[in-house]
Symmetry: C2
Subunit: 79 residues, 2 copies
């Protein structure tokens, strides 16, 4: 069954306390090569039958993300 | 600055109430072509200087994920 991956990330200007917390923990553990962390959501959708890229974009942008504060990256299976 | 993406997904045998809730909402809104949803976490790490793939795997598997219930997918920048 084809799978569509949707990554939802905070817009760059939105602060990310979860990512900051992870970054702080990595630094305290000595992983100072990591200089930034942003945390988002990762959805894997099983898709059956015909669904257009437009429909998937609409689902991703309106139902999986909050478009006020989040951006969406859609990864379709290779045709 | 190179970015490393780490996707953390629940192992297939672990139930995913968040994904089930999204799937239910999609069905009620008529998007019945979507037959499964799994929700995970998506981390984007900024990496500076030398860090090995092994180190990144260790960070991802021990600090970003709970290896008892989650699997990790590492996406390194192309060399």
């Amino acid at each position: 069954m084809p799978q569509v991956v949707v990554d939802v990330v905070l817009k760059p200007e939105i602060s990310d306390p979860q990512g900051q917390a992870v970054l702080g923990a990595l630094g305290r553990l000595g992983h100072t090569q990591v200089t930034g962390v942003r945390q988002g959501k990762h959805f894997v959708l099983d898709v059956e039958g015909a669904i257009s890229r437009d429909d998937l974009e609409r689902i991703a942008e309106t139902l999986l993300a909050n478009p006020v504060i989040e951006d969406v990256e859609l990864h379709l299976p290779e045709a």
